[in-house]
């Protein structure tokens, strides 16, 4: 998979859609003024272990950048005492604070620099983005992905491939529109009948409908009752996808723990919210992928293989 394809796949999953330059950049930035000496830039780079220093005017507007190679040139020419103004690069490639994650990645691809200054609309320097910042942002995003599978790459790979298939050719589609808990479970009941009609065996039907029920209840309890339940069922395999519109799971690791729940007392009195929903799903599914995060939609994808019982 090429970098471009990976970016496309990740965009499809919505993983990085919320990331813009301002959320990735480091704001602890060291800058110099044009009248500062080259020697000061050299000292700063050595002390802070950085490979480039942005140069700003009195209003903190970006006017240039001085890199290690420029310092080396200045050293060779004996110009360490000169102002940085005389050696800095003036046509700096910079990013805007609201640039998308894809724009940032394509900048790194096109220009092969190790760092980009980030500016506001008025040209003021607000941060810097290095390749390490990009990597950290990706890792932070993956923190919100929980994968219950030894073969992580395989599962995630199948997930992104199936995403597209769900759009076009789900065998079973149910819109979850639940007020309170009154018709909660309706979708999974229909799914169960659908799977039985398709000739799936009782054990896999039970596992799939139990998981569908738990996921549907979660949508009703935690996501305002709005979501969808979709399935692709063929060749001894059932793939379920339950999605909602948020507010998302803040800490998926906690949510996977038995007995942990954010449900209200009123919900608990009805016998829900025992903190067994996701653990049950993990227990009964063969593969599980959950993508969520605070104030984000939740996507739960489960795969059931016939004869795995």
């Amino acid at each position: 998979m090429s970098l471009e394809q990976s970016v496309e796949a990740l965009r499809y999953l919505g993983l990085f859609s919320s990331l813009d330059a301002s959320s990735i950049m480091s704001t602890a930035v060291h800058a110099l003024h044009p009248e500062d000496r080259v020697a000061a830039a050299r000292l700063l780079m050595r002390e802070k272990s950085i490979s480039g220093v942005p140069i700003v005017d009195a209003d903190f507007r970006l006017v240039g950048l001085i890199s290690v190679s420029k310092i080396i040139e200045a050293l060779a020419d004996g110009r360490l005492a000169d102002p940085v103004d005389s050696v800095m690069t003036r046509d700096v490639i910079s990013l805007h604070a609201h640039d998308s994650f894809e724009t940032i990645l394509s900048c790194f691809q096109r220009f092969k620099f190790g760092r980009f200054p980030v500016v506001e609309d008025d040209g003021r320097l607000v941060g810097m983005i290095t390749d390490t910042d990009v990597l950290s942002a990706i890792i932070r995003s993956f923190y919100s992905v929980y994968i219950h599978d030894q073969r992580r790459a395989v599962t995630l790979g199948s997930f992104s491939a199936l995403s597209k298939e769900f759009e076009s050719s789900a065998d079973f589609v149910y819109d979850i529109r639940c007020r309170g808990l009154e018709n909660a479970g309706e979708g999974s009941a229909r799914l169960k009948a659908f799977l039985q009609n398709k000739g799936f065996g009782e054990p896999i039907v039970r596992r799939a409908s139990v998981c569908a029920y738990e996921a549907e209840i979660n949508v009703c309890i935690h996501a305002g009752g709005h979501g969808s339940l979709r399935a692709i069922a063929r060749n001894g395999e059932i793939i379920l996808r339950v999605e909602d519109e948020g507010p998302g799971i803040e800490n998926i690791d906690l949510a996977m723990k038995e007995g942990w729940s954010t449900a209200t007392d009123a919900i608990r009195e009805l016998g829900f919210g025992a903190g067994m929903g996701l653990p049950n799903i993990r227990r009964f599914s063969d593969h599980l992928v959950i993508i969520s995060g605070k104030d984000k939609p939740t996507k739960v994808e489960m795969i059931f293989l016939e004869g795995k019982e």
Partner: protein
């Protein structure tokens, strides 16, 4: 034994008479729906104090043969309607879930 046998032996009131010829092969007592859906076996008699419509949804999902609502509680009307649709028998017992379970155990359910 069948649902019919359970009704006779428990002396419970019949709130919904569903498919009473269904076999009852085991028993389960719990009020946490996630536990029931994960652990109760199909064909169980289920003793609970929950009375709302989701009890029926869970029972249908698991393949429960008969629901016994304990402690003299009664179901909400939408629950009864749903049970009727599902041909699921719902019984009311004045006993606790413990006592009901004991009675079912003595009947031979394990």
């Amino acid at each position: 034994m069948t649902v019919h046998d359970v009704i006779k032996s428990l002396g419970a009131d019949v709130a919904v008479e569903g498919d009473t010829t269904r076999l009852v092969t085991s028993g389960y007592a719990c009020d946490l729906l996630s536990e029931v859906i994960a652990k109760a076996a199909p064909g169980s008699a289920w003793a609970t104090i929950q009375t709302h419509v989701n009890v029926i949804a869970v029972a249908a999902m698991v393949g429960i043969s008969v629901v016994i609502v304990c402690e003299g509680r009664t179901c909400e009307s939408d629950a009864l309607e749903h049970a009727t649709k599902e041909h699921l028998t719902v019984l009311y017992s004045r006993d606790s879930a413990y006592t009901v379970s004991g009675k079912l155990y003595v009947l031979g359910l394990r």
